[in-house]
C-alpha cells in the first residue's frame, strides 16, 4: 500500500511539474527535503531520550504494574465476556497502561499475550470475540497521554512552545477512546456480529 502511495507521489509530482513548469523548483526541493529529514531526525534525539529515560523509571519502579492492577476492576466492566481473575484481564490491563505511557516496546508483547489469553475463551476459532474487538478498538483509538514523538518533532523544527500540544492532545485522544468504546459496545449488540 505504502509502496504504491510513495511511487504515486513521485510520478504524479514529476508529471505536474512538467505541466506547470515547476521543474526547477521540484528538483531544487529534493536535496533540501533530504537534508531537512536528517536534521529533524537527529533533532528528535534529545526529547526521545528524555522521555524514554523517565519511562524506564516508571517501568522499573513498578508504577506501570501498579496502575495495571488498579484498573483491573474497571476491566471487568469493559470486558463483560472475560471472567474475573482470568489472565487476559492482567495482560490487557498491562497493555493499556503501557500504551497510555507510550511504552510501545512493552505494549506489543503484552498485547499479543492478551490476544492469546482471550483466544482461550474463544469457542469459534478463527473468528474474533467481542472482547477481542473491544480490546483492539481501545488499542487503535490511541491511548497515549503525552504524544512525545510529535513534541520532539516540533522541538526539532524550532518551536517556541512544543509542549503546548499536550493538553489539546489529551482532550482529543479522550474523545477518540471514549467513542471507540461506545462504537464497539454498540456494534457488539448488532445482530450480524452474533455467532
Amino acid at each position: 500500500m505504502l509502496n504504491l502511495i510513495w511511487l504515486g507521489l513521485l510520478v504524479f509530482s514529476a508529471i505536474t511539474a512538467l505541466l506547470t513548469g515547476n521543474l526547477k523548483q521540484l528538483v531544487n526541493s529534493v536535496p533540501d527535503s533530504a537534508m531537512n529529514a536528517f536534521k529533524l531526525s537527529l533533532g528528535l534525539t534529545g526529547i526521545m531520550a528524555l522521555w524514554l529515560g523517565i519511562m524506564r523509571i516508571a517501568e522499573k519502579s513498578g508504577l506501570t504494574e501498579k496502575l495495571s492492577l488498579m484498573i483491573a476492576p474497571l476491566m471487568v466492566r469493559i470486558f463483560p465476556g472475560v471472567p474475573r481473575g482470568h489472565p487476559a484481564i492482567a495482560s490487557m490491563a498491562s497493555n493499556l497502561i503501557a500504551n497510555m505511557f507510550g511504552l510501545n516496546n512493552a505494549a506489543t508483547p503484552f498485547g499479543i499475550k492478551a490476544m492469546k489469553d482471550l483466544e482461550t475463551l474463544n469457542s469459534a476459532k478463527g473468528s474474533a470475540t467481542h472482547a477481542m474487538c473491544m480490546f483492539l478498538a481501545l488499542n487503535t483509538s490511541s491511548l497515549q497521554l503525552v504524544p512525545f514523538g510529535a513534541i520532539a518533532l516540533l522541538a526539532a523544527g524550532g518551536s517556541k512552545d512544543p509542549t503546548i500540544i499536550i493538553f489539546p492532545a489529551i482532550i482529543a485522544t479522550s474523545f477518540s477512546t471514549i467513542s471507540a468504546f461506545c462504537i464497539a459496545r454498540i456494534m457488539s449488540r448488532m445482530k450480524r456480529y452474533q455467532d
Binding site: 505504502l2 502511495i5 510513495w6 507521489l9 509530482s13 514529476a14 505536474t16 511539474a17 506547470t20 515547476n22 526541493s29 529534493v30 531537512n36 529529514a37 529533524l40 531526525s41 533533532g43 531520550a49 524514554l52 523517565i54 524506564r56 523509571i57 516508571a58 519502579s61 508504577l63 498485547g111 499479543i112 482471550l118 478463527g126 473468528s127 474474533a128 477481542m132 474487538c133 480490546f135 483492539l136 488499542n139 487503535t140 490511541s142 497515549q144 504524544p147 510529535a150 518533532l153 526539532a156 523544527g157 518551536s159 517556541k160 512552545d161 509542549t163 499536550i166 493538553f167 489539546p168 492532545a169 482532550i171 482529543a172 485522544t173 477518540s176 477512546t177 462504537i183 464497539a184 456480529y193
Partner: protein, 179 residues
C-alpha cells in the same frame, strides 16, 4: 489569561507531573533513578537514527509533491469551509496515512513542520491529530495475526471511526485553543 496561555500552563503542569512525579515515585520505591534514567535514555539515539530513512523517503516525496504545484491543485479541491478550519491537503494526507504507518505519518508531520514552520497552526493541528489517532490497520494486523484470526468482525470499523473522531476532535480543540 487567554485560552492559549491556559492551555500552555495546563500542558506544562501535566508534563511536570510526569517529569518530576515519576522520578520521585521511583526514588520512594528504592529505584536508582539516575542510572535507570540513563539506561532508558540510551535508546533515544537509536530511535532517532532508525527513523532517518523513513523521514527522508516521506519528506522528499511530499516535498516534490508540494513544489511541483500538485499540493496546491489538490488543496483547491478542498471546500473552503474545511480550509477555514485549517484542514489543508497536507493535513488530509496526514490523517489518511496515519492508520497505515506511524513512521510515514510522522514523516508527513515533519514535512508540515519544515514547510509551514514549527509554530504554525498546521504544525500544531497535525501534532494533535498524530497524538489522538493510531496506526489502526497495523495494530489490527499484528494482534489478530498473533492468534490467526481472519474474521475480524467490527474491530477495524470501530478503530477507524475512532480515528476519524480523533481528527474531528483535534480540529475542534485546536480551533478553540489556537484558532
Amino acid at each position: 489569561m487567554s485560552i492559549n496561555e491556559s492551555a500552555s500552563t495546563i500542558s506544562n503542569l501535566i508534563l511536570l507531573v510526569f517529569l518530576v512525579g515519576i522520578p520521585v515515585y521511583g526514588a520512594l520505591k528504592g529505584v536508582k533513578v539516575y542510572e535507570t534514567f540513563v539506561e532508558g535514555a540510551k535508546q533515544g539515539f537509536d530511535i532517532a537514527v532508525n527513523i532517518i530513512p523513513y523521514l527522508v523517503a516521506i519528506l522528499v516525496a511530499v516535498g516534490m509533491f508540494r513544489s511541483s504545484g500538485a499540493m496546491d491543485i489538490l488543496t483547491s479541491f478542498i471546500p473552503s469551509s474545511l480550509k477555514d478550519l485549517g484542514i489543508t491537503s497536507d493535513i488530509v494526507a496526514l490523517a489518511l496515512t496515519r492508520p497505515l504507518s506511524g513512521a510515514a505519518s510522522l514523516g508527513i508531520l515533519g514535512e508540515i513542520v519544515s514547510s509551514h514552520g514549527a509554530d504554525s497552526y498546521q504544525a500544531k493541528l497535525g501534532s494533535v491529530i498524530l497524538g489522538s489517532t493510531e496506526t489502526t490497520l497495523y495494530v489490527v494486523a499484528v494482534y489478530f495475526g498473533a492468534v490467526s484470526i481472519t474474521k475480524t468482525k467490527y474491530a477495524i470499523h470501530a478503530g477507524l471511526v475512532a480515528d476519524l473522531i480523533g481528527v474531528i476532535a483535534s480540529v475542534t480543540v485546536c480551533r478553540i485553543i489556537f484558532g
